[in-house]
């Protein structure tokens, strides 16, 4: 997600190919048949504008989906996503009472952060293209299956993968049991090469800069694989309600480090800044999640949608997510207030900064990425929609997302590096979505 140079656009070729296939299908038909053919298609389109406060990340994401329905249960779905991202992201270092100068990830040049400011790397600029194709169909009376592929590319990241699922219906289709799996093969080509985990960041302007910078790099490319398995049960309760339970496993293997994140090094906790190290995460991660969702329709037609997720992993993180929405429907319109609460505990390898003594103990993993630290987050939103008919809808959604870090290591034990929440990155973002389907 990082770019100091011009962007490459291999994903555009994929988009053009998909569009060409769609056009070829339609162009081959006479007008009347084309109108009939269009009846079999559903289209979805949406644009999300995501803006973080304090000039941090700004992103625009556009999605176009097209589904060809062959019958009520058989469909082929195409989805194209384009997102662009600019702005600044915390680099992992702590604020300091002195100005701080950091080497850019590319090794070309540096940037300076004022005393007291949260260190942000302001060179983020990227464009990502994603394509998905998904086929779903029944398999006899009691079974159905689905299979799909995805490809995505951005300046420093490429992902290709596939998924498959099989469902079995029980109890007159009131119970559905689903087993689904996906595999993603991802390749990272970080700006400036792959940093050596826990190596020192070369000091800008030092006489040995180029030697030091080269010593902090290990090749141009790294990869990772992500395998997911989900076992789910969907149950219709009565005419007004249904619910779902999922148990999921996600196994990440390979290079899981963020190549652009660093850790501040101090001589002692709260002491003098010594320099910066590149972060390093373990090379495998197994996440498990339990997910429940329920939906209920009231007498007047309003709908309550609630879900809860409990997630834990072998990095030492646990998280809770609660999401609730109430869709108030009146005539052709609806208004839907939404609220989401999220809370996570830090992974074992997380520290806001590290001491020289801790580094001397040769840690295997270390990160100061706030996204792996202790924090709570709220999302408050509202969605408004207008339905022209059953298949045609325009909608907009406005949501605010706020992350609040918690104090770290307040137990004062000697092996922690305590930090006040006030010195850790907090974040507020506004999300505006406009979309439609026809």
């Amino acid at each position: 997600m990082k770019s100091d140079t011009s962007l490459t656009r291999p994903g555009a070729a994929l988009g053009a190919s998909l569009a060409a296939i769609g056009c070829a299908v339609l162009q081959g038909l006479p007008n009347q048949a084309m109108a009939g053919e269009l009846e079999n298609w559903d289209f979805d389109a949406a644009v999300l504008q995501y803006t973080e406060s304090n000039d941090r990340v700004e992103a625009t994401e556009a999605v176009l989906g097209a589904t060809r329905n062959f019958d009520s249960e058989t469909s082929l779905n195409f989805k194209l996503t384009l997102d662009t991202l600019t702005g600044a992201s915390p680099n992992g270092a702590m604020p300091s009472d002195q100005p701080q100068t950091f080497t850019r990830p590319s090794g070309r040049g540096s940037y300076t952060v004022e005393a007291g400011d949260l260190p942000l790397d302001d060179t983020f600029r990227d464009t990502r293209y994603t394509g998905n194709i998904q086929w779903s169909a029944p398999l006899g009376r009691d079974w159905s299956y689905s299979g799909g592929v995805h490809y995505s590319t951005e300046h420093d990241y490429e992902s290709r993968g596939g998924n498959a699922s099989l469902s079995r219906y029980f109890n007159n289709k009131n119970t559905t049991v689903t087993l689904a799996t996906s595999l993603s093969l991802d390749v990272l080509t970080p700006e400036g090469g792959v940093p050596v985990g826990l190596s020192a960041m070369a000091e800008p302007g030092s006489g040995s800069f180029s030697v030091d910078f080269d010593a902090s790099r290990d090749g141009k490319e790294a990869d990772k694989q992500v395998t997911d398995v989900i076992f789910g049960v969907t149950q219709i309760i009565n005419r007004r309600s249904l619910m779902q339970f999922n148990y999921s496993l996600s196994y990440n293997n390979g290079y899981l480090t963020d190549p652009y994140k660093i850790v501040s090094v101090y001589d002692t906790a709260g002491g003098t800044l010594q320099g910066y190290r590149y972060e390093q995460r373990p090379d495998s991660r197994l996440k498990q999640a339990l997910f429940w969702q329920g939906k209920y329709q009231f007498d007047g037609g309003d709908i309550l949608d609630g879900s809860y997720r409990f997630l834990f992993d072998d990095w030492g993180m646990t998280s809770h997510t609660v999401d609730a929405r109430y869709r108030w429907r009146f005539g052709h319109q609806y208004l839907e207030p939404q609220v989401r609460w999220y809370s996570q505990s830090a992974i074992d390898a997380y520290q806001p900064y590290v001491t020289s003594a801790q580094l001397a103990d040769d840690p295997q993993a270390l990160t100061a990425d706030y996204r792996l630290g202790d924090f709570d987050a709220w999302t408050l939103g509202v969605r408004y929609g207008y339905r022209f008919d059953e298949k045609t809808e325009l909608y907009t959604r406005l949501a605010a997302y706020r992350q609040m870090p918690r104090d770290f290591g307040s137990d004062n034990s000697s092996d922690t590096t305590p930090a006040d929440a006030g010195d850790l990155p907090e974040m507020t973002a506004v999300m505006l979505t406009i979309g439609g389907r026809f």
């Binding site: 029980f170 992500v226 149950q235 996440k287 969605r383």
Partner: protein
Amino acid sequence: MKSLTVLTLAFTVLLAGCSSLGVKPWERDLLAQQDMELISDPIEAALDDHVYFSKEGSSGGRGFGGGGCGCN
């Protein structure tokens, strides 16, 4: 692996218990509405997942946790 066995067992028991729940085919009018699908808007769900995947340490649960981007 042990937790997986326990969960599989729990789901099997749940499945048996579920046979008394549900509706007749002619009672599916409300459930057939698009608004009553568990993911009533897949596009909104995907946009949300992308934001939270990029900003939080957790992902997946409802669907695949997946890879797919070097998000910041």
